[in-house]
């Protein structure tokens, strides 16, 4: 449970940037907003966010290293969380468009 909390904390630290990147990208491609937003959340968003972390918040990985978690595990699980979240958003938006 404690490790899951740590993975969740790491995911949360990457999510804000990922969300805003995806939202702005979807706005730019407005007619495709409902398709682009969830796909960007699953792919480009987390990559940009992890890249930002690598450049400016690299030392924060030590918080997790000190609890026995390797970087590769953090990155993989964060990507899985992003993908799952993006997929849920994708299904909800598709469903909303379908009902409309």
């Amino acid at each position: 449970m404690s490790k899951l909390n740590l993975y969740w904390a790491f995911f949360k630290s990457t999510f804000t940037i990922s969300f805003f990147f995806s939202f702005i990208l979807a706005l730019i491609m407005y007619p495709l907003f409902f398709t682009v937003f969830p796909i960007a959340l699953m792919t480009g968003g987390p990559i940009i966010s992890l890249f930002y972390k690598e450049l400016f918040r690299r030392n924060e990985y030590y918080f997790f290293y000190n609890r026995g978690i390797a970087k590769i595990k953090l990155l993989s699980i964060s990507l899985v969380f992003h993908f799952t979240f993006g997929l849920i958003v994708f299904i909800i938006l598709r469903w909303a468009v379908f009902l409309k």
Binding site: A9, S13, E60, N66, R67, G68
Partner: protein, 230 residues
């Protein structure tokens, strides 16, 4: 029963520069080893190699008879305080403590005149010195058998340094500690064993005036060496 950490045959190069040639360190519970060395001699590099987050050409690390490639992956064996802030900025202090120490709300942790008033603050709201003090206390409160402290005194006011020095000494009852910092008087005061990283190797010494011999401080500045408790 105490623990034993053995570090041997550490070799590390950056390009053609071999900065660590053959390091040997034996550390036991109760030891506070102060490592001195000029800028660029490889102190931080050595700590990261011991911790297991930096690849190297060769190293041998054994903890209580067990050979470890990446000590940090074994929880509560070795912890490292890196040179720069490491606690995620979006966390509140009490959240960081809960996550890091895996304890329910740790009131006792905040039973501290420097932290009690800021426990609900976000990490990003702390001053550099407050954050450093918080991070060091966090690391020392783990169950870890060995702790590596990279420049713990940097940017900290004298009153906090005094408190930290006490904390480190208390923690050494159950841990072995390696300490590096350029605040040499406080390292000399806190540590109970000393060495210098010189020419890629570790040179142990007992008399603080040897810092002059190993080229860490100038002879003209040797009067600045304060009398130590040890």
């Amino acid at each position: 029963m105490g623990s034993l950490l053995e570090i041997d045959s550490v070799i590390k190069s950056f390009g053609v520069n071999q900065i660590l040639t053959d390091v040997f360190i034996k550390l036991q519970t109760g030891d506070i080893l102060g490592i001195f060395g000029r800028n660029g001699t490889g102190k931080s590099t050595l700590l990261r190699i011991i911790f297991g987050t930096l690849q190297t050409e060769r190293k041998f690390i054994r903890l209580d008879g067990k050979v470890l490639d990446h000590p940090y992956k074994c929880i509560d064996e070795v912890c490292l305080l890196p040179q720069h802030d490491f606690v995620p900025k979006h966390l509140k202090l009490h959240q960081a403590v809960k996550l890091f120490l895996n304890k329910p709300f740790p009131e006792s942790f905040f039973d501290d005149k420097f932290l009690s008033s800021i426990k609900n603050n976000k990490v990003s709201e702390l001053s550099g010195g407050e954050l450093r003090y918080f991070e060091i206390k966090l690391i020392l409160n783990t169950q870890s058998k060995f702790v590596l402290l990279d420049e713990p005194f940097t940017g900290i006011s004298p009153i906090l340094i005094e408190e930290l020095s006490k904390l480190i000494k208390e923690s050494s009852r159950s841990k072995g500690i390696i300490l590096t910092d350029h605040d040499y008087n406080n390292v000399l005061d806190t540590a109970n064993r000393y060495c210098v990283l010189y020419d890629g190797g570790i040179k142990y010494f007992e008399n603080k005036i040897d810092l002059v011999k190993w080229g860490y401080i100038n002879k003209s500045k040797s009067h600045l060496l304060m009398p130590t408790n040890s």
